[in-house]
Amino acid sequence: MSSPENLPLETAQKIILRWDSTASEEAREKMIFDHTTNRDEIDLYLQAVDEIQRSISSASLSDSHHSNPSSTIQIAMARLEDEFRNILISNTNSIDTPLDEDSSFSSSIKRHQDFKNDEDDNEDDDDQNDDKLLRFDSTCSVATTATSSSYRSTSSIREIDLIPTEAVSDLRCIADRMISSGYLRECIQVYGSVRKSAVDLNFKKLGVEKLSIGDVQRLDWEQLETKIRRWIRAAKVCVRTLFASEKRLCEQIFEGIGSSIDDACFMETVKGPAIQLFNFAEAISISRRSPEKLFKILDLHDALMDLIPDVDVVFDSKSSESIRVQAAEILSRLAEAARGILSEFENAVLKEPSKVPVPGGTIHPLTRYVMNYISLISDYKQTLYELIVSKPSTGSYDPSNPDTDFDELEGKPPLAIHLIWIIVILQFNLDGKSKHYKDASLSHLFIMNNVHYIVQKVRGSPELREMIGDDYLRKLTGKFRQAATSYQRATWVRVLYCLRDEGLHGSGGFSSGVSKSALRERFKAFNAMFEEVHRTQAVWLIPDSQLREELRISISEKLLPAYRSFLGRFRSHIESGRHPENYIKYSVEDLEDAVLDFFEGIPVSQHTRRRSQ
């Protein structure tokens, strides 16, 4: 672009007037800045504008208002405003393909970057124009062919060229002149209004929905989970690419031309979508707290935390402070929500009111739920270690709550203390539930099953085990073993009582004769009790096979020797009387087999059990 001699003022004015769009049809129809036009036209016009500006600043006014430079400059500015708008509109890249997993901003970025790399290698003046056009095309038409990069890899700020370089430099030329003529405001207006639409369009294509806070409160949590997932993906692209690119565009056009004009334009275009974006996260952060929400809220929290450094970079000016502040506020609300939900969860576990006893004394759904929940918590321990900073509140105003001395847990991180507390209150609740069984043995079995389940779950997860600690694990183990012992006592003491020696002999001690009637009563009692226990407890369930085995073995170890010895000592007395089969119904092997039926959860029919001597 060779700069010719300064244009004479009159020529300059003529040029300006020729392009007055209020004056002629032709001026309205054609654009000066048209990429198919000769650049000379453009250069000439700009020169003319410069000349008018020069004449104004050297304060030479003429009489007739028609050639009054201040009047002419207005015509020029109005024209430039239109040109500016037109360049922006016709060069705005709209993302035509719907954004899904495969096609994305990043794939267009990738192509652009690849291209750029190639270009850097062939730095050649002659080719520059061609390269520029090529770049213009490649970024204009967004890649529809999928590349391997997906949205998820938007892990750092990556700007793209929203407007090709040539257009940018034209815009800069215009902005420069508008601003130095005092038409800054018009320039910002025009820029803002066009870019706003473009941003809005792209924003919609990213799938960020506009939901009111009321909408979010009304939706199902499952639906919200999907939306949260989508939001996380979209937010990354928004902040790191969409907004960052708009910012860069403002800088490219306005930097150095005036004081923080690029900031003003940037905020103008981006503030709305930015607020809309964060409003969704905000709505989630204030939704009602309930336990199932914890993990998605943590996901959202983590995503936002990851994003905030980039938010701070993109929105770094004074005028965008409110966005930064809002993001930080939302983050802290999400943290509070997580804390609140944990506390709600603990409350819910403590007070879970169902009284219907689980048939067969097996694992209560509450136990499963709680243990699964805290397993998940241990998965999220990175974040939760940071967020959970205080000990659980033990509901001190309610005198019926369990007591826990947290002193012995000193030195453990608060999250771990919470987990232990949760297990404590789970047991507390289960203890209460166990009382609803009419049969005390079943209560004990129930406790044994459930505490054992807790122990297994903790043992099965290294993170959980580390947090709960072996000390407490030992306590739990002790508890279920004790429950097993209590069960045995409750059921078998009276059964084995039938097989005791005392009371069978006459008053003369061992050497006196055995009371046959007493003996018969004993056998009958034993048989009846055993049958009842057998029938009842076959239906009970110990889900864990190893535990089941152990308990059966333990029973057998007490039952079988006792019965064997009893039989050994006294069977002759029965067999010498009438109908021995009414009294000695079972052999030791029969009992041994019968014990195998226990805790299977399957009822036994009486016929199959009868074997004979």
Partner: protein, 390 residues
């Protein structure tokens, strides 16, 4: 120990409270509480009386529905809210707020709070739109300042003023309805010379589709009912007062600041005519409703005072610009100078006041969220037993 059941939820303290419509705390602070309740009523009444009188008595203070007046209004709301919380929460057994009739009334209040949050957001968007108007007005001011006034300046001002008035009316009528956004979307795709009209439509950001300020306010006020006779000494009354204040302030904000879908906003709110603390609110409401009717009849903008002034002055300046011939008479120019000064003054007020107003609305937002969270927590602790899903 048996697991706590629903019946055992309240502590033994709660169980022996006297269950008429009075709620007694065990420390025997009954008199203190009654006094607090009365003070609360009085203070609310006083605050709104202040707001009412400031519009009539002192011409130098903020006019009704001006930016300054709205800021005062929000301040009063925050004060009411703080006192309300003190009355209901402090020194009382938290489980009291989960008993009838509060167990129904409190969730209703909390629902109103949620609706208010959306109103806050809508109003904030409206304030952004107004800031846009300010910028257009500033162009006109800057254009009309230099002397001698030439053709170019006037053309420049005219352009800006026409945009200003068109946008103002558009913002008010459709105010970011989806129609507006769609046009702006197609605007992006179209090449070529876009005229004045199209430029206008892309300026305001919108709320969710189908969201309506009028409907929202109406929903907030629909179940607002004064507690019956005997309840007047219990907690139902402060809840009602707070609800009323909240609804009134939100309604006022929506009336003043253009936000999405305000048709039908002018209908009267159900306020209790006989309760003394409500009188100033009723007075204000009547004034505002009158202004609203006028606005609807004339098709003018508003009701933000600065906006209305801006429209008036804008029209006057447009008349001037339309009839301008160089050189203009000095008398005319002097008149114009006065108007331009007025417009500049309005812009200044907006420049100084809009952002603080937005910040205040944000503060109200935060406060409402916090209060709601606290109440929800107490309700969940005391009344609601959540059964975990398996």
């Amino acid at each position: 120990m048996p697991a706590t059941t629903e019946n055992n939820q309240s502590s033994f303290l709660g169980r022996i409270s006297i269950r008429r419509n009075q709620v007694m705390s065990m420390e025997g602070n009954h008199d203190q509480e009654l006094e607090d309740l009365e003070l609360f009523q009085k203070h609310v009444g006083d605050r709104f009386a202040d707001l009412l009188s400031s519009t009539t008595e002192d011409p130098s203070s903020d006019a009704l529905l001006s930016i300054g007046w709205l800021r005062k209004l929000l301040d009063e709301l925050l004060c009411c809210e703080a006192e309300f919380k003190a009355v209901v929460m402090m020194g009382r057994d938290p489980s009291q707020i989960s008993k009838p009739p509060l167990d129904k009334l409190l969730p209703e209040l909390l629902d109103r709070v949620v609706k208010s949050l959306d109103v806050c957001n809508a109003v904030t968007l409206g304030l952004d739109a107004i800031r846009n108007l300010q910028r257009l007005a500033e162009i006109a001011v800057v254009a009309l300042e230099p002397r001698p006034m030439g053709d170019g300046q006037v053309r420049r001002a005219k352009k800006a003023l026409h945009s200003l008035v068109t946008v103002m009316v558009h913002e008010d009528k459709e105010c970011g309805s989806t129609k507006g956004t769609e046009r702006s979307r197609s605007f992006g795709r179209r090449g070529g010379n876009a005229g004045n009209k199209d430029r206008v439509r892309s300026l305001s950001w919108t709320m969710a589709r189908n969201w309506s300020a009028a409907k929202q306010i109406h929903a907030m006020s629909s179940n607002l009912a004064a507690p019956r006779g005997g309840d007047l000494t219990g907690l139902a009354l402060p809840l009602y007062i707070m609800s009323t204040a909240l609804v009134f302030v939100m309604w006022t904000l929506a009336a003043a600041i253009p936000c999405q879908e305000r048709n039908g906003l002018g209908t009267h709110l159900p306020f209790p005519r006989q309760l003394p603390w409500a009188q100033p609110m009723i007075g204000l409401q009547e004034k505002i409703a009158e202004e609203w009717k006028k606005k609807e009849k004339k098709g003018s903008v508003g009701l933000l005072e600065e906006m209305q002034k801006m429209e008036k002055v804008g029209q006057l300046l447009i008349e001037f610009a339309d009839s301008f011939q160089f050189p203009a008479e000095n008398e005319r120019l002097d008149e114009v100078r006065v108007h331009v000064e007025e417009l500049a003054d309005i812009c200044r007020k907006m420049e100084e006041g809009l952002e603080p107003l937005q910040l205040q609305i944000r503060e109200v937002f935060h406060r409402l969220v916090r209060t709601r969270t606290e109440f929800l927590h107490v309700l969940d602790q005391a009344g609601k037993l959540s059964t975990p899903t398996v």
